[in-house]
């Protein structure tokens, strides 16, 4: 690896310059000639039948250019999967949550658009609403969607067999239930969309997305126009974190308004809309029953999880599976049974989020700590006894080729001083460890692979085309870094065209942590193919075999005699003069089990690689206020190979903030009759610069045999394990295993008080006994 020029270096990101100068354009920054302002009218009721919508007054308001309702949608229902098509982009019959889309307007300016919304008269018949998933599941009659009995949207059942037999054999069994509230992304950029139909009747759309091709297909279906006429355009994106994976009703409404008016339309969400009407993380109730042998090895586990899915399916089958999958990847289990239920309620729609299943994951690790406590071993030991090893198959039959889970544990333990501190810290001072694993990709069927095209320009510089999108994590830099490395050019010689459905090929998108593994891989192969063409021409000029050549710093040279060289620019020009193509393509399709399906067949190769991470956290708890001061977080992840440590560290640090500091201490939603009462940044507490602890980053490399240069998912295992590390540390500090997340001061104080009361009772009982 040492002969690389750019790969493995701390290369600063190519997109940063435009961003620090304020030049990078995000969707809300766009201005097109004649552009109108779009706004969405939303349901004020959590569950209501729509009896009539009268738009006449709104349409008569001067400055209003169009009003659209469900009547304009031809009743099209959308869903990520054929069996989850339950959502209309504008509701026709019923509104199912406070915020559901009922109409849209386009007007000359914002003020007029807002006045028009008020003039749209919607007649509702309020229906009984259900906000509690357990109540929803118990009901046979109060159905949110008529064709889903008991309001069960998705049921994932996984069973490896032998669960009962292994519980019989177990030395110790525990059953514990863990709760977690909903959380939100709070992307810096509120959702926005600009749409217009161009002179060729092509639909052009700009919006934050985690994969432009995930947006173009549903728009093509809804408008009944071919895919090549839907152009999702490249635009800077202010964060995604799992919440911008799918089509948003606003995309459709904006396009519909653009079609009706013949003008470009822009919809910019308020902060409240971004919270309520995009996606949220699922609230969940999880019961883990775990049986271990005398040494603490897990023989059997039964996990049952009830997820509050909100009003529609969204990525439901994926969301219902991923918490379990992360656990089965991280830990060996002799046998396991999982029942995951995603249940409809009259609340906003839930989707994937960076720490997906914090209640599930923290439950697994808290229970391991409980078991370790019972067996008299420490939390590190019990994890090492159960940790995933390379060459294993997961419970659902995915082969794990590269895995350095143990190394992440050992290195984090050493750096944090865990062994020296465990059991020896003063009262209300604690340390905890979390370990987890994340998929590098999901089974994506037709969209599972990525293709890249590279064209050389006559000045010796190259244009690289890739469907990979950058939500902020550094994907664009990753593509440029790989292309420049393989072509022997400098980063500034590469012009990247990406995330644009008109010019770039289909790609899985960034939401399954697969951009480097698949999209980066495709660019690498395209660049290798391009280089091969150049080498053939250069070899003739230099009178050597092509295999003797290498490329670096804009030169092609003989490896054993670097003085013997030719500029790449010259090779390109010679090629063109000799009627030889210098362009190339490359593609990568991960070898996954195409028969694997989230609900019907959750077995087989899930993806080609898995990442593994450990986070150790040290905290102090104030027993009077319940406030947690985090002293240090140590994050170690097996990333396969570090293409760019500078960017990786940023992913680790961001993961500790969102997964641990925010995810475990402050971030959750509060509700009143289905209305989210903390949808703004003022009420929803995200971590600030002054809250964050010192973070130690440890990059562990296992060199994945399939990944480009050995790389795989990087950063999300930290978001997951940070949540677990934080919860473990707080539990350790107060001497109570906490089971409700996040760990807010009220819960911490209640736990301390309960413990003190218990101790007092015990002391009194002891005294009585002594007497």
């Amino acid at each position: 690896m040492s002969d690389h020029t750019l790969i493995g270096t701390r290369m600063p990101r190519v997109d940063s310059r435009a961003k620090v100068m304020g030049k990078a354009k995000y969707t809300a920054d766009l201005k097109l000639p004649g552009m109108l302002v779009g706004k969405i009218k939303r349901s004020p009721y959590a569950h209501a039948r729509i009896l009539n919508i009268d738009t006449s007054k709104a349409e008569a308001l001067p400055g209003v250019k169009a009003v659209v309702t469900g009547k304009d949608t031809e009743g099209v229902k959308w869903g990520v999967f054929p069996y989850t098509r339950d959502q209309q982009f504008i509701q026709v019959e019923k509104a199912r949550y406070i915020g559901d889309e009922v109409a849209g307007v386009a007007a000359m300016d914002e003020e007029t658009a807002l006045r028009a919304l008020d003039l749209i008269e919607v007649e509702y018949e309020e229906l009984p609403a259900i906000f509690d998933p357990m109540e929803a599941m118990a009901s046979d009659t109060e159905l949110i969607h008529e064709d889903f009995p008991n309001n069960i949207n998705i049921h994932v059942n996984i069973d490896t067999g032998n669960v009962e037999e292994n519980f019989e054999k177990a030395h110790y069994i525990r059953e514990d239930t863990f709760m977690a509230s909903e959380e939100s992304y709070f992307h810096a950029e509120p959702y926005a969309v600009v749409a217009r139909f161009d002179h060729e009747d092509c639909l052009e759309v700009w919006c934050p997305n985690a994969g432009p091709h995930m947006k173009s297909k549903p728009l093509s279906n809804s408008f009944k126009i071919p895919l090549h006429k839907v152009k999702i355009k490249k635009i800077a994106i202010g964060g995604a974190f799992g919440g911008r994976s799918e089509i948003c009703p606003a995309d459709y409404i904006c396009a519909l308004l653009a079609k009706k008016t013949g003008k470009p339309v822009k919809i910019v969400f308020t902060r409240e809309e971004n919270t309520i009407a995009t996606r949220q993380g699922h609230a969940m109730i999880t019961t883990h029953k775990t049986g271990v042998d005398r040494e603490g090895r897990v023989l059997a586990r039964e996990s049952t999880c009830y997820m509050d899915g909100g009003a529609y399916s969204s990525t439901g089958p994926i969301a219902t599976s991923v918490p379990f999958l992360s656990m089965e990847q991280a830990y060996r289990m002799e046998s396991v049974r999982y029942n995951g239920y995603r249940i409809y309620t009259n609340k906003p729609i839930r989707g994937m989020i960076r720490v997906h299943g914090r209640g599930f994951a923290c439950g697994v690790d808290t229970q391991l700590d409980m078991i370790a406590d019972h067996l008299g071993i420490d939390p590190v030991e019990i994890r090492l006894k159960n940790s995933r090893q390379p060459g294993d198959y997961t419970s659902t039959k995915s082969y794990v080729s590269s895995c350095a889970m143990d190394e992440t544990i050992h290195k984090a333990v050493e750096k944090s001083g865990f062994k020296e501190k465990w059991g020896k810290l003063p009262p209300f001072h604690g340390i905890g460890i979390g370990t987890n694993s994340v998929q590098t990709g999901f089974p994506m069927g037709i969209r599972g692979g990525s293709q890249s095209f590279i064209k050389f320009n006559e000045d010796g510089e190259a244009t690289v085309m890739s469907g990979v999108v950058d939500n902020g994590q550094g994907n664009e830099n990753m593509l440029v870094q790989i292309a420049a490395e393989e072509l022997g050019l400098l980063p500034e010689d590469i012009h990247l065209v990406n995330a644009d459905t008109e010019t770039t090929s289909s790609d899985p998108g960034s939401y399954s942590q697969v951009s480097t593994f698949v999209g980066g891989h495709a660019v690498k192969i395209a660049a290798e193919n391009c280089r091969e063409k150049l080498f053939k021409v250069a070899a003739k000029v230099l009178k050597v075999d092509p295999q003797e050549l290498a490329a670096k710093n804009r030169l092609i040279f003989v490896k054993d005699d670097p003085e013997k060289s030719i500029p790449i620019k010259k090779v390109v020009r010679i090629s063109l003069l000799n009627f030889t193509s210098v362009n190339a393509e490359g593609g990568y399709w991960p070898k996954v089990d195409m028969k694997r399906e989230w609900v019907k067949n959750p077995y087989g190769q899930m993806c080609e690689a898995f990442s593994f991470g450990t986070t150790i956290v040290e905290v102090k708890v104030d027993p009077v206020t319940g406030q947690v001061e985090v002293l240090e977080a140590t994050a170690a992840q097996d990333v396969g190979y570090a293409l760019n440590p500078l960017i990786l560290e940023g992913q680790f640090e961001g993961s500790v903030a969102m997964g641990g500091q925010g995810g475990m201490l402050t971030e959750y939603h509060e509700w009143m009759d289905g209305r989210c009462i903390n949808p703004t940044m003022l009420d929803y507490k995200v971590p600030l610069a002054c809250d964050m602890p010192r973070i130690n980053n440890i990059i562990v490399e296992s060199i994945d045999p399939k990944g480009p240069y050995g790389a795989k998912e990087a950063g999300m295992s930290i978001a997951m394990s940070a949540a677990q590390g934080y919860s473990g540390a707080v539990s350790n500090a107060i001497g109570v295993f906490l089971d409700s997340f996040p760990l807010t001061p009220d819960k911490i104080l209640a736990a301390i008080k309960e413990k003190q009361t218990r101790q007092l009772k015990q002391e009194n009982a002891d005294k009585t006994e002594g007497n």
Binding site: P12, S16, R17, V20, G238, M658, T680, L688, M692
Partner: protein, 165 residues
């Protein structure tokens, strides 16, 4: 409401604009002057994405009326660089990997720039306090804090400090 004409001094240049008295400085910058570097994220003065300088002090442009800014020297993120030449702080943000999605970056830079003008050698605690009004969801702040600290004082032991060369 009647429109009025005012002059705003932005990044060293006067701009005459016709506004409503209730237009915020952020709306005028973004919608009327095409200075879209300043971002709206929360719209209620919490997140700091719209931070600009008025007479060297950081203010929330979303909570400031354009009329209030008439007599001030306003500086936005577009005014930090000298033409194509980035300021040390901007370069430090790039070199230290302090920019991810970039949406909070303009506000973060303006808060940090104001701090460094007042206190050229701030310690870490001071930096974290000065940036406590700017929300970032991507970075966990570590690299931003480092970028600010090293902008004025490049560190020999920092592998990302370029200006020492």
């Amino acid at each position: 409401m009647e429109k009025i004409e005012i002059t705003l001094n932005i990044n060293g240049k006067p701009h005459e604009v016709t506004i409503y008295p209730n237009d915020t400085l952020l709306d005028v910058l973004r919608d009327k002057l095409d200075l879209t570097g300043s971002k709206e994220s929360c719209g209620e003065g919490v997140c700091g994405s719209c931070t600009v300088h008025m007479d060297g002090k950081p203010v929330r442009a979303c909570l400031t009326l354009a009329m209030e800014a008439q007599d001030a020297e306003i500086k936005t993120v577009e005014g930090l660089a000298n033409g194509d030449e980035l300021s040390n702080l901007q370069q430090s943000f790039i070199d230290h990997g302090a920019v991810q999605c970039g949406f909070c970056t303009p506000g973060m830079l303006m808060s940090a720039d104001a701090l460094l003008r007042e206190n050229p050698k701030p310690d870490e605690k001071t930096i974290r306090k000065a940036l406590a009004g700017n929300i970032c969801r991507c970075t966990g702040y570590a690299k931003i804090v480092q970028a600010v600290a090293h902008a004025a004082q490049p560190q020999d032991n920092c592998c990302d400090c370029k200006s020492k060369e």
